[in-house]
Symmetry: C2
Amino acid sequence: MESPQSASLSVEELYEAWPVLSIDERLEGFRLLPPAVADDFFISLSARDQAELILHLPPAERRPWVRVLPPDDLADLVQAVEPEQAESILSQLDDASRREVNILLAYAEDDAGGLMNPRFARVRPDMTIDEAIGYLRKQAREKVETVYYAYALDAGQHLLGVLSLRQLFQAAPDKKVADVMQRDVITVGEQTDQEAVGRLFSEHAFMALPVVDEQGRMKGIVTVDDIVDVVQEEATEDIQKVGGMEALEAPYFEVGFFGMLKKRIGWLLVLFLGQMLTATAMSSFEDEIASAVVLSLFVPLIISSGGNSGSQTSTLIIRALALGEMRLKDWWRVARREALSGLVLGIVLGLVGLLRIVIWHGISGSYGEHFFLLGVAVALSVLGVVTFGTLAGSMLPLVLRRFGFDPASASAPFVATLVDVSGVVIYFTVASLILRGTLL
Amino acid sequence: MESPQSASLSVEELYEAWPVLSIDERLEGFRLLPPAVADDFFISLSARDQAELILHLPPAERRPWVRVLPPDDLADLVQAVEPEQAESILSQLDDASRREVNILLAYAEDDAGGLMNPRFARVRPDMTIDEAIGYLRKQAREKVETVYYAYALDAGQHLLGVLSLRQLFQAAPDKKVADVMQRDVITVGEQTDQEAVGRLFSEHAFMALPVVDEQGRMKGIVTVDDIVDVVQEEATEDIQKVGGMEALEAPYFEVGFFGMLKKRIGWLLVLFLGQMLTATAMSSFEDEIASAVVLSLFVPLIISSGGNSGSQTSTLIIRALALGEMRLKDWWRVARREALSGLVLGIVLGLVGLLRIVIWHGISGSYGEHFFLLGVAVALSVLGVVTFGTLAGSMLPLVLRRFGFDPASASAPFVATLVDVSGVVIYFTVASLILRGTLL
């Protein structure tokens, strides 16, 4: 008997709508999928979404969904839930699988070890190609889900070589694996950071990389489909930090109102306290402002031009570091280049500022008889502030990395605040020097 | 005869150092690789790096490297070089491959069609499993390099179903493909934007997705290894835009000094011109500043607290939009939530500001007899500016998307500048109301 039309749902429609559905709608949609498709759909979800679905199912219905997942996905899922829920999920597994998951849980979530799948396709170097293909078919029937590469191991589990499925298919059936396999294998260590693993995958088109321990024994594989997620997550973290907040662990609408506030208030408070220094800096120039109120009009313009150029530069450097496009030891090359950029940008913006004051004075006459000197003071301040902002914005991410912090913490608002305070000092110092005896 | 130790180079070492090598060092390293490894290494490079290597090889040495690449990689490579160089690269191909590449070049680079590989593994639905495996081996020997899925097509090339290699290996050898294949296939259209394709891959663990035209005819596959790159690139573009510059097309050190300046000066100029409005706004409050210079001290603090909260919010929304976590029609939900967040953040920061003025006055007595009213004016202005900044920062990316622009253009510096101007007006208006008759 076929199910009525109204109850059927295409898996494509469900994929499309998924990100914006509530958990109840997700569960409803998931239950409408034909059973043959539901498995694949469930496996392809993120660990957080899998956890959410499982925990909303009645306990009696959970077992088949837990068992359909490979060990690396199970480890991710267990890490996405509360400890007591993890216990109840792990209890659905058979002993062998539970042991595999527990081994993976010993790795840090952000390491290659935490990403890897311990079930990979293996062959022995002395097998013939035909024997190897037969052996792979057997492994696929059992529990190995990723078979685009076969890894040749010795009896001690040391990785000797690798064969792509394509190479296996292309080779003459009676050749030996050892004659065809590639011996110079790119591997990653168990403790390699996931950001570095992601970089390796994004720079080079691998489908999977083997994870080995210090003795060269193979522990598992990291597959590229898990890496897309890692790359997306790391980028999201960086973007959120660049915007001046702590990274969120869940999509926008899934973070509670107060959880979100907590992620945001910290940096805003730090920046607010830092920005108070501008008031302190300005108060030491109160006499100058009192005798020439016109000076105060340009404070926001000048400090923000430094802030903007600094934010721009720090963001550029943060991303270049994250992509491995530059290293710490390149700092001098970066500093030279950015100082020069800052000078050129500062000259252009400074001249525009001078022009604006001269033209505006021509129209409205509002800047008094010393308008040209005032314009020069503003232009030179912009030059100084933009150069300083650009240089500071380029060095701060490098300094943070040097001392083991995340370069992305050199957020746009953080650099802007830092440069604002210096901007006030630069402006009033330049103005004092140039306008002493005329306006001041 | 073995090559001397000094001349050998492990492929792992070369991968590690690659991003920071000059082109001459890259060429030298590449030539030191054993021939068996060099092929794979070359295929795994980015299109830009492949183009650079090929163009630095003597013309006589180019042909084998051009021919080793699949059509989709060739199309990318051709798009990465100047038109006259493209001509010379395409001339190295045989006619059939050149035709394939030219078809791919007709797609926009950012579409699924521009990412896809037209060589995929196909089977007929009426084949037995054993016949299908034999047929796949034959295709792998010819030119199909990606064989983790086999696609079942009818005579008119319409996509009927899909089988993973694992399903093929698991099934009984005498079953029919049509009995085993999955019929509800997730596909992407030829014109689907690469960002949407990337999102599909990052939310769900696919190894490849089929590309079909409007009639359901299969055109090629997009594989996940190409998607890691897309996701990384799209994130880089967004981060650079959020930082207030145009997106770069190449790594930091590969962009020339003046090319880099061109990407940066545009936004800085727009922001500088916009920021000039702060001077105009402040000049209409010149009398207030003249009679109470102390007011001017808090201008940077107040406007930047709005700028910081605005940058933070716009970055959050930009990323949520890019990840498909929210849609345009959610705008009202976002506006309500962000207005409330802004209020709470503004109250906290405002109270801290009031406290700071009261305490500082207690220590130094520098804010005169009306220090408390001054503190209240500052606190209320911070509240107003932060609420406005948060709301503006949340709505601007949505407005940009609504009118077909990239939400990421609502960069941190752009939002900060927008909010700065409004901040000046809010501050002096609030101060005039509260301090009229006392300080003013």
